[in-house]
Symmetry: C2
Subunit: 358 residues, 2 copies
């Protein structure tokens, strides 16, 4: 049991989409063992994942998901790590940390192993500052503060919904960049956490990600990817665009930066290109759509925002490809599933921002 | 002559508001000597600043400014480092680096002296990415790139107008924070440069700042501060708010982060409190004003934007305090002076953004 993760043991689940390599769990054992794991097997359900002793876990394969959700299982992707969001629904905890099985423990510049989970928790437990940029980065961190000229009325910040961690070694590049720069490695440890300002979108990677499930969980849908779908590798991007516009609307914060994990291997760029190529051109229309999304004032919960977003997706993106109509329907199904498994949260309103000067 | 500053020798001026300590120039000699210095003496004109041999410089005191500008000298602050903007007007170079005389050469974590000027030049010569956030920070830096999910149509970026550098040792805190945390020192070297997203304001500090004078110079007015004015220590903040909304409008970028300088001494927090206190409450109205500023499409140059901004300042901030009417008038005078000393630039239009999805 790690002494560096003393809090939130009963408030956080770790969601892992499949585990192909058991070294992964052994390496993370000192950090993960105190927590409950939810493993969502993304491929062939007949394969057995043997979780080493000492871990507290539940594991779902495709058969389980079909049995539990019935026809609504259609909203959960198959043969794609997007299936991880099923774990977000069935968790009963306040916080989620999700990580891929090719992500190992990184070291900071002093050579010390980084407890990624502890840093995510710190990010989630301290406020965000989306309305004004602090040039010394996270003002709540030890040894720093708000700089001269930062409005005092904004210094309380807003609740943090998402903590987006980064990756040393293999950077999260798209297939074209992987092909052009096969040998590029991320060796730069940037010792910063910062809030992504209100109104700014970012490419959210699902490899090393934590969030407040109570505040924003319903927006963390990873879409329709993998078997039977025209695209892949846009599951986390889709979730990130949705999460950001909904967080902005609800007055919640999204942080990025620390903690780093060690991303051990690059996926095959040729396979990735096949998965991505529609996403690469669709996103040129999707980004402007998300940049101009406006949610009405009566959308006071993540669920309501998400349903409204699904309507706008159908109305404004359906003409790009039939896929977006299907995705919009799946977004609605996802919320139905969410509400079914999280009945108490359904009508829990999230406070709208105050202190926002916008 | 420093081998690490091989470019832009004839394209950049260093503007320094007064030099109280000649060690300052000695310490920077290897980095600054190749460049032309413009020194603006902020206090008593009868005092003589003895610039050490080997530096190429021009020096202006208050008498010089009055003689050169006549009645228009009223727009240049006296007994305040805000007077530095006179140097921006009389420069004939494309780029400006301005630095305070209590800022010394910092060291990076490996112990190497940081050539701040060279890093600013690099920041200014590479594009900015204000329309979408790149989670691995500056995508144009060696060893990194745009991450997966970054729209390809936005990867060319936009011209960089401003490079805002940071400070090790004494952080740039306001008087209340100085009083509460007198011993806090900034020891965290964050190895990053990032673009401040479009639509987001930031507290711009004038201590360690570079900009493209051709693109944005007219917006770098440091306002009315010091003798005879009701506030101080908001000169750079004012310039920063103006610069950011105008850069956003013109499709230019503002970067912050590297390079660090070593900020050697904190100014007196009691004196600072007296200078700041009106600014501290006024800014609660000024920030929402700047957050909602909208400039018309026909404002295609920094000058036109600035004149329009002065109109909006008078119309919307004049009711806060008579000071803002005076400031609005000074903003107009400043542009008159600018156009007089930079006639060719007057009608040089700056391209409006393309590639912006907003």
């Amino acid at each position: 049991m790690s002494s560096s993760t003393p809090i939130l043991k009963d408030e956080l689940d770790i969601v892992i989409p499949t585990i192909r390599n058991l070294d992964f769990l052994e390496m993370w054992r000192p950090f993960f063992q105190p927590y409950h794991l939810i493993i969502i097997q993304d491929g062939d359900p007949s394969k057995v994942i043997k979780v080493p002793e000492g871990f507290d876990y539940e594991l779902y394969n495709r058969n389980d998901i079909n049995r539990i959700l019935g026809p609504k299982a259609s909203c959960i992707s198959f043969k794609d790590s997007a299936c991880r969001c099923f774990g977000f629904v069935v968790s009963k905890k306040k916080y989620i940390f999700t990580i891929d099985d090719d992500c190992f423990v990184a070291k900071d510049p002093s050579g010390k192993e980084i407890d990624a989970l502890q840093q995510h928790i710190q990010n989630l437990l301290t406020p965000s500052t989306p309305f004004f940029f602090n040039t010394l980065y996270d003002p709540y961190r030890e040894g720093t503060d708000f700089v001269r000229g930062y409005p005092f009325s904004l210094r309380e910040g807003v609740p943090t919904a998402v903590s987006h961690g980064l990756w040393l070694n293999i950077p999260d590049y798209d297939a074209p960049t992987q092909l052009v720069k096969p040998l590029e490695r991320n060796t730069r440890y940037v010792d910063a956490v910062l809030t992504i300002p209100k109104g700014t979108l970012f490419p959210m990677c699902g490899m090393n990600l934590a969030f407040n499930r109570e505040l924003i969980g319903p927006a963390l849908y990873f879409g329709l990817m993998g078997e039977g779908q025209p695209i892949g590798r846009y599951d986390d991007m889709w979730a990130g665009w949705c999460v950001k516009v909904i967080s902005d609307h609800l007055g919640l914060g999204v942080k990025t930066g620390l903690p780093y994990i060690w991303h051990s291997k690059a996926s095959n760029p040729f396979v990735n290109l096949k998965k991505e190529y529609k996403g690469i051109y669709w996103q040129e229309e999707l980004i402007p759509f998300f940049q101009s999304v406006s949610l009405p004032k009566d959308c006071t919960t993540a669920q309501k925002c998400y349903i409204e977003l699904s309507r706008q997706v159908k109305a404004k993106l359906g003409s790009i490809d039939e896929y977006f109509n299907k995705l919009a329907d799946a977004m609605v199904t996802w919320i139905e599933v969410w509400d079914e498994y999280n009945p108490s949260a359904e009508e829990k309103p999230v406070a709208l921002p105050n202190g926002s000067a916008k």
